[in-house]
């Protein structure tokens, strides 16, 4: 808000932005969805309890295909939990937010630099895929001082508003079906309200409909649409930030994400000095690129370091990539304090100790 007051006003001081302090999270996500439907980028910032409140609307945005951006500054859950402490415990709640079969794009920044980069990208992805996009920050990134490289912006970059059919396209008589997969990538064309006097109007709804947005409860029409949504999610894999890998063909690997990055870098160095060399992969988005699964397959065992009790990213990896759970060893730190190299090392070494098998005959 502070920056918008200076940077998003015209020469006369008129605003090119608006902030609405909504009465609750249901209204804030509703306002974001209304704006996204009408062709304006909008976002809401929240934490876990807010995500819980927003889930009905998130299902609508997923199913009716409306762009929305959410910044989730994750804190210690469940319930009010540890509201002033940090965790990465909203991963599953966001990845599958809402009832029915839903999946959402998550971006996993490692600090302020990527929060900026992914923040801008989130709006492009939301428009491109016409769906909610979550930037999964946490309280450690959001409230603690962290170092990052100076922010920069490529002035030649254009905003990606995705597939929007404008007046000229409608006037030219191009076929418009709001949920018609013209390009085979699962992403359909939309129109903004008010574009053309006679063409391009459609009805947006949370109920099932055919490719031309007409209400339908026909089984095959429903299934086609649900399959297309999966196809769209598949397309998104090559648009989200790719994982960052350091792979030297070692026996063990480690997967981590988000604010664990600095502590992980330190832990990897210290473990190497103690004789344990690890290959690393930092996941930066969901849906996962194919390289995540390939990384796991190349290693005998992979540690998954995260800041929650239930190893949520590991669960997501097992569920989405059908990875053998035995190959993924959880290393979880979730006492509310930011993760440290010490905690990671202790966790990994404890896991390794469990793996050590002493032959029976050597026991006295």
């Amino acid at each position: 808000m502070h920056h918008a007051e200076r940077m998003r006003v015209d020469a006369e001081g008129k605003r090119k932005y608006a902030v609405i302090q909504a009465e609750d999270e249901l209204a804030s996500i509703g306002i974001v969805i209304g704006a996204g439907w009408n062709g304006t980028r909008a976002f809401t910032a929240t934490s876990g309890p807010g995500i819980s409140l927003m889930t009905e609307f998130l299902g609508l945005a997923y199913f009716a295909e409306i762009p929305a951006v959410l910044f989730d500054v994750q804190r210690g859950g469940p319930s009010t939990g540890m509201p002033t402490r940090t965790q990465q415990s909203d991963i599953l709640a966001c990845a599958y937010a809402s009832h029915g079969d839903t999946k959402h794009i998550l971006l996993l920044p490692d600090g302020p630099g990527e929060c900026f980069e992914f923040g801008a990208l989130a709006f492009d992805l939301a428009d491109r895929f016409q769906t909610p996009v979550f930037v999964m920050s946490d309280l450690d990134i959001g409230m603690n001082d962290r170092l990052c490289a100076p922010l920069s912006w490529d002035d030649s970059r254009r905003l990606d508003r995705g597939k929007v059919m404008d007046f000229a396209a409608l006037e030219a008589g191009k076929t418009f079906g709001r949920y018609l997969d013209v390009d085979g990538d699962g992403v359909c064309y939309r129109t903004y309200p008010g574009t053309h006097p006679a063409r391009g109007a459609y009805f947006t709804r949370g109920t099932t409909r055919d490719p031309f947005a007409r209400y339908s409860e026909e089984g095959d029409v429903y299934v086609d649409n649900m399959e297309r949504l999966l196809r769209k999610f598949e397309t998104a894999k090559s648009w989200v930030p790719a994982p960052l890998e350091l792979d030297a063909g070692r026996e063990y690997g480690v997967i981590f994400y988000g604010s664990s990055a600095p502590a992980m870098d330190e832990a990897v160095e210290l473990l190497a000095a103690r004789g344990l060399q690890l290959d690393t992969l930092r996941v930066r988005a969901f849906p996962f690129a194919a390289s995540v699964r390939e990384f796991v397959e190349r290693h005998r065992l992979v540690f998954v370091v995260e800041q929650n009790r239930d190893a949520q990213l590991r669960t997501l990896l097992i569920n989405e990539e059908e990875i053998d759970p035995a190959r993924l060893l959880p290393v979880c730190h979730y006492d509310g304090t930011p993760i440290t190299a010490r905690a990671i090392i202790a966790g990994i070494e404890a896991r390794l100790d469990l793996l050590k098998v002493t032959p029976l005959r050597k026991r006295s």
């Binding site: 249901l26 209204a27 509703g30 974001v32 969805i33 006097p197 209400y215 339908s216």
Partner: protein, 351 residues
């Protein structure tokens, strides 16, 4: 029946408005509501109001929540974009849409369950915000889609079709809207098109949060003896405080009323809303007096209808915020992105 488009065929001599359109051009798909439903009369009134005002249908956005009433946007303005959102949350979606493009006309359609029960919070807050919209509640006091349970606007003591008495007090949406700061508040009856159509026109024309509570009897579940939302009950207890006549700026004023019987409200652009006074003491520009009158009449069992409150000088939220004249959804990259030079200055400020 899942979806039926109406045939486009119509009589070649149907009258046309200033845009050269007939009223048929403002219709939607065939209604799937029960025959005789009050909601269909309201849809017809919306069609008539938009046709007579010569509004370009594609510049109207129609939004709704969930319920019988919220199904109706399918049945009018087929050339407009529509949005059937989630239960009780239409106001927030409409708010976001209005922020995105201030140049469209927003019609929100909701019901008593949608706005007074699950969505009371969003209803109240949207009235506070100066959103330029016409918010219509099609009020029948029951949940028609789920077999006629009472909603929060059902009167205390009303009897349901199954013979069950309502023990809860009713929420009066017009009083609440006036209290919350709506700048145009009216109540009407789906069976009184003569009153409803001018009210709709004036509400659409109004630059701010306009709310119309339309009593719209449910012919299937709430039109029996003992109901306080039946056609017969409303006709017998309808206390009309005024009959509006909306005259756009461009139209010559031709209707003559006896002096003293008419109150003329001049709107922001010079259009005139003329109110034929049925109740000479009623002052629609005084919030407190309006609330008092509505509540006193209510105690006597009367249903007050007409234009209940108006602030003709209302200012909408965009103007209040000092936003640019270009709708937000038409701002280009250059207007939206301050660029790298501005970012580098920002970086410096962190050092």
């Amino acid at each position: 029946m899942t979806y039926l488009a109406k045939p486009k065929l119509h009589h070649p001599d149907l009258p046309r408005n200033q845009l050269g359109l007939t009223h048929r051009d403002y219709e939607g798909a065939i209604s799937t509501l029960c025959a005789g439903c009050g909601h269909d009369s309201i849809s017809a009134a919306i069609v008539q109001a938009c046709y007579e005002m010569s509004l370009p249908a594609h510049r109207i956005a129609k939004l709704s929540g969930i319920g019988c009433s919220s199904k109706t946007p399918t049945y009018f303005l087929g050339l407009s974009h529509g949005f059937n959102s989630v239960h009780g949350r239409m106001p927030s979606v409409l708010t976001g849409a209005y922020m995105a493009n201030k140049d469209l006309i927003y019609i929100g359609v909701s019901g008593d369950g949608d706005s007074a029960s699950i969505g009371l919070g969003q209803f109240a807050h949207s009235m506070r915000r100066g959103i330029n919209m016409t918010y219509i509640v099609e009020n029948n006091g029951v949940y028609g889609l789920t077999k006629g349970q009472f909603s929060a606007t059902a009167d205390y003591g009303a009897v349901s079709k199954r013979g069950v008495k309502n023990f809860d007090e009713a929420i009066d949406l017009v009083t609440l809207a006036i209290q919350m700061g709506a700048t145009f508040v009216a109540r009407s009856f789906s069976g009184d098109k003569r009153q409803l159509v001018p009210l709709l026109k004036a509400a659409i024309h109004h630059q701010g949060a306009a709310f119309i509570d339309v009593i719209s009897p449910c012919v299937t579940f709430n039109n029996h003896k003992g109901s306080t939302k039946s056609f017969d009950y409303v006709r017998e207890h309808n206390a009309v405080v005024n009959r509006p006549d909306f005259i756009p700026l461009r139209d010559e004023i031709t209707v003559d009323y006896p002096a003293g019987a008419v109150e003329a409200v001049t709107l922001h652009d010079g259009s005139v809303l003329r109110l034929a006074k049925c109740d000479h003491d009623y002052n629609p520009r005084d919030r407190v007096a309006a609330i008092n009158c509505i509540q006193e009449r209510q105690q006597r069992g009367e249903v007050v209808t007409g234009l209940l409150f108006i602030d003709p000088d209302a200012v909408d939220l965009h103007e209040e915020m000092g936003n640019v004249d270009t709708p937000f959804n038409q701002l280009d990259d250059a207007a939206l992105c301050p660029g790298n030079a501005a970012l580098q200055q920002l970086n410096q400020s962190f050092r």
